[in-house]
């Protein structure tokens, strides 16, 4: 365990001195309110303030409203955040899988006009299962443009195997370790990600079990992990604590905290 540095090694300095050296890119953020609980400081100004305080360089966001009810409203909010953040906030495009005819026009608007970086899917907030054919236009678009799609859940390992193999030029990220991994569950989605060349795992999540992060790095390899915090759904410093102060090497930390996602979004 290396978190001794949290309280002793840098006394007199700033916590952001510890974190900023990694040029952290947070690949999993949001904007806006959520129906089930209070989210203070949920606008882009609040996000930027948290990033400054914790030494995070960039964050890629979608809006909770865009995932759940009104994708155009949400995408416009993300576009405003991109414009006003001087490149520090990146954007996920959202769609409504039930408005099939609108999916491609909206993705074109997002990527051709609104400077979006990746696509976010969320089957439970969309209320549309991960296996639904309604998502096919999204996969085709991402494949054609070699884009990243992050999904709250790809459903089964086999679903991801099928999609990632068929749309092999797209890049697929499974959020939340595949579901609050406690270091013990044998999840097929993790096996699928390990097998596939174009699939990765995001670290965001509330369940930080002792030793689980180190185990997953060992199991998957540091090249397969993408740093995410879920800010402001979750406090940004939660996952910073889990990853920056974990018992893995500095080289592994740099990959997870920054270079893995940077390469994904800059390799078109």
């Amino acid at each position: 365990m290396q978190n001794r540095t949290q309280t002793k090694a840098s006394v007199g300095g700033k916590f952001s001195d510890i974190t900023s050296k990694y040029k952290i890119i947070d690949a999993h953020g949001h904007l806006g309110y959520y129906k089930l609980f209070n989210i203070p400081d949920n606008n882009y100004e609040g996000i930027l303030k948290s990033m400054d305080r914790t030494g995070v360089d960039k964050v890629c966001v979608s809006t909770l409203a865009g995932l759940e009810v009104d994708y155009k409203y949400g995408n416009d909010q993300v576009a405003e955040a991109i414009d006003k953040s001087e490149g520090r906030i990146l954007g996920f495009a959202c769609i409504n899988p039930f408005e099939k005819e609108e999916i491609i026009p909206e993705l074109e608007r997002c990527f051709d006009n609104l400077k979006m970086t990746a696509i976010k899917l969320h089957p439970s907030l969309h209320d549309c299962p991960a296996e639904s054919k309604n998502y096919i236009p999204v996969y085709e678009f991402a494949h054609e443009r070699k884009l990243v799609i992050m999904n709250h859940s790809w459903g089964s390992g086999n679903n991801l195997r099928y999609i990632a193999s068929k749309y092999h030029d797209a890049k697929f990220i499974q959020a939340h370790y595949g579901s609050a991994w406690d270091g013990n569950q044998e999840l097929d989605i993790l096996e699928a990600i390990k097998e596939l060349d174009n699939a990765w795992l995001d670290t965001a999540g509330s369940g930080c079990y002792l030793g689980a992060f180190e185990k997953i790095v060992h199991m998957m390899g540091a090249d397969k992990l993408i740093f995410g915090t879920d800010i402001p759904f979750l406090d940004i410093s939660w996952q910073i604590g889990n990853v920056v102060f974990s018992d893995i090497t500095d080289v592994e930390k740099k990959k997870i905290l920054s270079t893995n996602f940077f390469k994904l979004i800059n390799s078109n």
């Binding site: 978190n3 309280t7 089930l36 305080r53 930080c208 759904f233 410093s237 910073i240």
Partner: protein
């Protein structure tokens, strides 16, 4: 702001003994635990015993006391439940047990032990704990923020035992819509921070109610202490407030416990 100061972390949420799901990480002995907290820069722990939680309460309490005896960095926390079924000592007897062993904190598991927080069920125990101001840690065994708890029962307990310090363990995202009301109106309610993931949540609570009502905890060895330590370190609060949450508030509560000799001999 955010300048690192030598904060002293005192963890109020720590378990000693075997935990079946993570045999590599659990603390079998006091030395195991001390070795871990040394690396984690935690100076002291309020500890309960795993046997007391998972199986035999009083045997587990006794094993814990013996295991950490004479260790100034490990502070015992006894687990309790209602006595009516004969499984657990009568509150008066339990009180003597606490006093004789200088145990200044009690933890209950209403969900895990299947005993809801009905005032009538816990009245005898809580009355006697309140008489000595023994802090009561209530652990609903929440694994995920989406789980619900019975806030009406918490409000009733706070109202009926106003001098009993009540600390809610692992409060999380869904707590805010209740705790702002409750903390405004119930002076004896405290929040443990190990799973309080609300965005900038610590600083918001401090701004509204002061730093006195937050108690630092980690949940080791089940949970990783790094996220909860980092969250407190990064919170936009002053160093005095940070130290109060990190350990000062807990120590103050423990120091305020007053065992009454009369109660002891009743």
């Amino acid at each position: 702001m955010n300048t690192i100061a030598p904060t002293e972390f005192i963890d109020c949420n720590c378990m000693l003994g075997q935990w079946k799901k993570n045999v590599e990480s659990c603390f079998y002995t006091a030395d195991d635990l001390i070795s871990f907290i040394n690396k984690a820069s935690i100076s002291k722990c309020l500890v309960f015993g795993s046997l007391a939680k998972y199986s035999e309460i009083q045997t587990g309490n006794n094993i814990l006391i013996n295991a950490i005896k004479d260790n100034e960095r490990l502070i015992p926390c006894a687990i309790a439940m209602p006595h009516h079924s004969g499984e657990f000592p009568h509150p008066k007897e339990f009180y003597r047990y606490l006093a004789n062993n200088n145990i200044r904190a009690v933890r209950i598991f209403p969900t895990f032990h299947g005993v809801s927080l009905y005032t009538w069920l816990w009245n005898d125990l809580f009355t006697i704990l309140e008489s000595a101001k023994i802090p009561l840690f209530i652990d609903f065994s929440l694994k995920h923020w989406s789980e619900e708890i019975n806030w009406e029962q918490i409000k009733n307990i706070c109202e009926n035992f106003p001098l009993l310090p009540i600390i809610l363990i692992r409060m999380s995202l869904k707590a805010d819509r209740y705790i702002y009301y409750l903390m405004q109106n119930m002076k004896n309610l405290y929040i443990e921070t190990s799973y309080y993931l609300v965005n900038n949540g610590i600083e918001k609570l401090v701004k509204s109610f002061g730093a006195e009502k937050l108690i630092f905890g980690t949940g080791i060895p089940v949970y990783n202490p790094n996220p909860s330590i980092t969250m407190l370190n990064f919170s936009d609060i002053n160093e005095n407030e940070r130290q109060m949450i990190a350990g000062g508030n807990l120590m103050k509560l423990l120091e305020e416990v007053k065992f009454d000799a009369k109660q002891d001999t009743n």
